[in-house]
C-alpha cells in the first residue's frame, strides 16, 4: 500500500477549457477516487426567466452554452411552442435540423481537436480546427453569427436558406468529407493515439446505465440511447441509426463521435433533398399558459427542457438538465483506478461543458 495523497485538479488547468474542480485521492500514481466541485461560473440564467419575457428569453437561452447554442435555443423554443400547442411550418423544421446537425459537426470537430491537444498531438488538433472553420463560415453566411446564431424563434426560424446556398453547403460538406476521412484514419489507426486511449477509462454497459450516462458516453458503452430517434423537428423523416460501440473505453468514445460526424453530413444531405417550400415562421399571439417537458439530443447528449407558464408574458419556471451534468457521475467512475497522467484525457472524453452545467 503506497502513500495516500489528495491533490487538487482545476479549476484552472491547461487541459480544461472551462473551470471544474476535482479533488483527486491518489495512492502513489493511481487515482483511488475523485470528488468534484462545480459552481465557478454560475450565471443565474434560469432565474432570469422571471425578468425577461418569453420572447426575449430565446436570446438568453442561446447563451447558456457557446458550443451548442443553437440547440439550447431550439430546446427552449420547442418547449414554449408545445405549451402553445403550435405545429411549426415544415420548412422551419428542416432548417432547424440542418442547423442542429451543422452544430453537431462543429462541436465534435472542436472536441476532436481538444482531445488531440490533450494527448499532445498538436498537428492533429490544428487539422480538426481547420475543418471546423469551414462550418463556422457556413453559419456566418446563413445566420449572420459564427457562434450565436439568433435564428431560432418561437413559431419557426427567423432566416431562410435559399436553394443555391443549400447546394453550396452540400458541396462544401462533400469536399470536407474527404479531408475528414484522412483525419479519422489518423484517429483510428495511429499508434500513439491508440496507446493513450485504448483500454483507458473503461465504463461498462451496466455502470453507464446505473449512473445515467447520456450521449456519446452512453453509446460508447453499448447503450442505444439517442433522443433524435424520438423524431422531433424533421428527424422522423430522416433515415439514420444511433451509432453504438461496445468497448466503453476512451477510444470507443472517439470512434462514436467520428462516426457521428459522417452521420451528421448524411443527415444534412437528406434534409437538403427533402426540404419543402413554404413559410418559415408561424405567427404566435398571446401569452403561454401551462407546462411542458421536452428532450433533445445535443452533441454532448440528452438535454431536458422544462418550462412552466402562468398566462403572463413571463414564465414561472424554466429548468434545464444538461448532458455534462448527467455525465459527471460516469466520469468519476472512469477515473477510479486510472493513472494520474490519464486524468486530463478522461475528463475530456465526456466532452465537458461547464457553462451548460452551471448556467
Amino acid at each position: 500500500m503506497g502513500k495516500r495523497t489528495v491533490i487538487p485538479f482545476g479549476p484552472q488547468h491547461p487541459v480544461l477549457p472551462e473551470p471544474i474542480h476535482l479533488d483527486l485521492v491518489l495512492v502513489d500514481e493511481t487515482v483511488e477516487s475523485a470528488i468534484p466541485r462545480i459552481g465557478y461560473i454560475h450565471r443565474g440564467l434560469e432565474k432570469l426567466v422571471e425578468k425577461k419575457d418569453f420572447q426575449q428569453y430565446t436570446y438568453v437561452a442561446e447563451r447558456i452554452c457557446g458550443i451548442c447554442s443553437f440547440m439550447h435555443g431550439m430546446g427552449y423554443c420547442m418547449a414554449v411552442e408545445s405549451i402553445f400547442e403550435a405545429d411549426i411550418p415544415e420548412r422551419a423544421k428542416f432548417l432547424r435540423t440542418i442547423w442542429a446537425e451543422l452544430s453537431r459537426l462543429h462541436s465534435h470537430l472542436l472536441w476532436l481537436g481538444l482531445m488531440a491537444d490533450a494527448f499532445g498531438f498538436e498537428s492533429l488538433f490544428m487539422q480538426s480546427w481547420k475543418l471546423r472553420e469551414l462550418i463556422l463560415d457556413i453559419f456566418e453566411e446563413t445566420t449572420g453569427g459564427r457562434v450565436i446564431f439568433s435564428v431560432c424563434d418561437i413559431g419557426g426560424v427567423r432566416r431562410d436558406i435559399d436553394g443555391a446556398t443549400l447546394n453550396k453547403i452540400v458541396n462544401i460538406l462533400t469536399d470536407m468529407e474527404k479531408e475528414l476521412r484522412e483525419i479519422s484514419h489518423v484517429f483510428f489507426n495511429d499508434h500513439s493515439v491508440k496507446l493513450r486511449t485504448q483500454g483507458v477509462g473503461v465504463l461498462s454497459k451496466q455502470a453507464a446505465f446505473d449512473l445515467g450516462a447520456v450521449g456519446p458516453m452512453a453509446r460508447a458503452s453499448g447503450i442505444k440511447l439517442d433522443m433524435r430517434c424520438r423524431g422531433y423537428a424533421a428527424y422522423d423523416r430522416i433515415k439514420f441509426k444511433p451509432i453504438v460501440e461496445t468497448e466503453g473505453d476512451s477510444f470507443a468514445r472517439i470512434s462514436v463521435r467520428i462516426k457521428e460526424l459522417f452521420q451528421a453530413i448524411s443527415i444534412i444531405k437528406q434534409c437538403v433533398a427533402l426540404i419543402p417550400e413554404g413559410d418559415i415562421k408561424m405567427k404566435i399571439t398571446g401569452n403561454p399558459s401551462g407546462e411542458h417537458f421536452t428532450r433533445l439530443e445535443q452533441p454532448r447528449g440528452e438535454v431536458v427542457y422544462y418550462a412552466k407558464a402562468n398566462g403572463t408574458k413571463y414564465l414561472d419556471r424554466l429548468r434545464v438538465r444538461t448532458p455534462t451534468f448527467a455525465n459527471v457521475p460516469a466520469l468519476l467512475e472512469t477515473l477510479k483506478g486510472c493513472a494520474l497522467a490519464d486524468v486530463p484525457i478522461l475528463i475530456l472524453t465526456i466532452d465537458p461543458c461547464i457553462s451548460c452545467t452551471e448556467r
Binding site: 456566418e140 449572420g144 450565436i148 439568433s150 484522412e182 495511429d190
Partner: protein, 120 residues
Amino acid sequence: MSYFSMSKILLKNLFHGPYTTLYPIKKKESFGRTRGRIEIEIDSCIFCGLCQRRCPTGAIKVDKANTKWSIERFQCIQCNYCSEVCPKKCLTMENQYTSPAHEKVRDERIKCTNIQSPNT
C-alpha cells in the same frame, strides 16, 4: 496500427502554404447576413420606443421629448430583435463590427426637428 499516419496530411500542408488569412494585408470579406452593428436612419424614426422595450440587454434608450435615440455599443448583443420589431424599419444591421475602445460611450443620434428649410 500505423506509425506515420499523419505524413500524407503534413506533406500536403507543406506544399499548400498557410490556411490562415494574413490579416492586416488581406482582410476577410464579411457575408451579406453578418451581424455587425445596429445603425439608425434617425429622420424616419417616430420614437415609439419599441426597440427599447424589446432589447434583451437594455442597450437602447429612446428619449421622445428630446428626439434622441442612443445605444450602448458594448452592451448590444447583435441579436437583431430591435430591427425586426421597428415599425418604420429605420433600424438596420450593418456588416461591420464596432471598433474596440477604451471607454464605454453611448452612441447618440438626435433628430433635428426645428431647423427651417432654406427656401422659406
